[in-house]
């Protein structure tokens, strides 16, 4: 019982790391640009497939991670400039347009890479298992995933809280007009943050491909989890995304373990109740609607 508990906790944490990579970009683009990007999951899928192709042809996970991230960033840049920009600040329009973009990316990916679930090949040093004290066996790759999530989290947090760019981003989240009036090129900032967000989505897609496999429909499943993370943590808050992904990752792992048939309920039920009493999430600011 205790062994399983520890194992499920570890599983939850490694899944949380993956969710954080995806959710952090979503929450920052929303916070700064007020864009609800439902295509974020599709960037994840696209990055995952590009990474899959690169990993299969070169055998390098590093190239796959960078390539998947860059491919998603390019895709995100064009989607942003050509389509999402036209929606203005209307969330309804944004949601519809980005769902349309996600349909196109998902369907074209299905055409190129086929409908089977495919697993990204891992380099030798990440294959195999660790044996933890107490006889708990744990895959090396999940530890790697957790470390990457932690590293990216720390880097993002330092940029966000300790650098001048971060200060500008935070100011932009609070009040865009004033930042713009202070002579800061807000448009350039938007492009940067949105590129970073899509890069992270593609990057997490490659990791997700090695962890959960890539398949058509994966984009919506992971997107819903990322949305729950963002909702629980509060839209626009980086710290909220960190706490939110831990909560969601752990609830999901415990739910799958204790009530496999009702695991979705275990995850979404508490979220719905939390939202009814605190609609802006744990760390969201009141002016975010």
């Amino acid at each position: 019982m205790l062994d399983s508990f520890i194992l499920q906790t570890l599983n939850g944490i490694s899944y949380a790391a993956l969710l954080f990579l995806l959710a952090s970009g979503f929450t920052l683009t929303f916070g700064l640009m007020r864009i609800v990007n439902m295509a974020h999951g599709a960037y994840y899928l696209f990055g995952g497939y590009i990474g899959l192709t690169l990993a299969k042809s070169t055998g390098s996970l590093f190239l796959a991670l960078i390539g998947g991230g860059i491919a998603a960033a390019i895709l995100g840049y064009f989607a942003d400039r050509v389509l999402i920009k036209r929606t203005g600040e209307n969330h309804l329009t944004q949601v519809l347009v980005t769902i349309g973009i996600a349909y196109i990316i998902g369907d074209v990916s299905l055409e190129i890479w086929g409908g089977d679930a495919q697993k990204l090949p891992l380099p030798v040093f990440l294959k195999g298992i660790f044996e933890l004290p107490g006889g708990i066996i744990y895959p090396k790759f999940r530890v790697f995933l957790f470390l990457i999530g932690l590293l990216v989290g720390i880097i993002l947090w330092i940029i966000y809280r300790k650098t001048q760019i971060g200060a500008v981003i935070r100011a932009g989240v609070d009040d865009r007009e004033i930042v713009s009036a202070n002579g800061i090129h807000v448009d350039r900032l938007f492009i940067m943050v949105s590129a970073l967000a899509s890069f992270l989505a593609g990057f997490s897609g490659v990791l997700g491909g090695a962890f959960l496999t890539v398949y058509p429909g994966a984009e919506w499943e992971i997107l819903v989890f990322a949305l729950v993370v963002v909702i629980v943590g509060g839209l626009g808050s980086l710290e909220g995304a960190m706490i939110g992904s831990l909560v969601v990752g752990l609830l999901d792992a415990y739910g799958r373990w204790l009530a496999p048939e009702l695991s979705y309920f275990v995850l979404f039920g508490p979220m719905a109740i939390l939202l009814l009493f605190r609609p802006r999430g744990l760390f969201g600011s009141a002016n975010m609607t």
């Binding site: 519809l96 347009v97 196109i104 963002v230 909702i231 609607t289």
Partner: protein, 293 residues
Amino acid sequence: MPFLASAYWLSLITQILIFGMLALGVELMLGHAGLFSLCHAAFFSVAAYTVAILQVRYGLPTVIAAPAGIVLGTLLGCIFGLSVRTRGVYFILVTLAMGYIIWGVGYRWASFTGGDSGVTNIPAPEVAGFSAADPMAYYYLVLVVLSLTLFAYRRLIYSPFGLVLRGIKSGEKRMLSLGFNPAAHLYIAFVISALIASLAGVLYAYFNKFVNPVSASLHISVEAVLMGIVGGTGTILGPLIGAGLVLGLRNWVSSFFTLHLAVMGLVFIAVVIWAPGGVMGIFKKWLTDAKER
């Protein structure tokens, strides 16, 4: 109607009427209350699953199964309706997540719902010895139910209640200061829209003859919204026209092109960006232009 003689057209048109009804339910929230729900597939599928499970597994007659489906779908609407406490993006995201609970239950709770393959072999509806086993008879049944729903919907939209809803859409604070209770109005509208979606779900179960988790998926909710938007929000016939266009286009495209979801995505983007008023919007603009000339 002679062209209905072909089984293909009859099936397509029945499907359009059923999904038009689902879109009508979504449209009540979207077009009149200004809230964009992504969970109406939940009510639709809970109603369909209830009919399927009661009829197939427990062998209960249609007079019990069909009303039970409507009641359970609407009850779920009473619970999910609490989401009207949120607005804007949060409403969209919360309804999306709630819709996913139902999909997850349908998919994972395999011992009760049949999992991925769902429940099959739903018999034709039969009430007091009259059976609608013939597709033509079922088409007329759907047509009658839809006409009654449209009639009631029209009454609702033009009633003071409908006016208050549109008032909330254009300015919630103003309605509040006028002494109305926006929260209660939105909640009731949500439950009514869940009721319409459940009705569509019951009709769908008997039409499709099997139910699987796809009926609860996000795609169904999204498609219903798409139909509403393509047809034109805030109108009564819009959802039906939208259902006809979306399903017609999908059937036509998928007959020679595998990328039909991508085509749907393009339609989505094109309509939202260039014709946000939908077909009815274009039609109205054309009418006013003609008058001015």
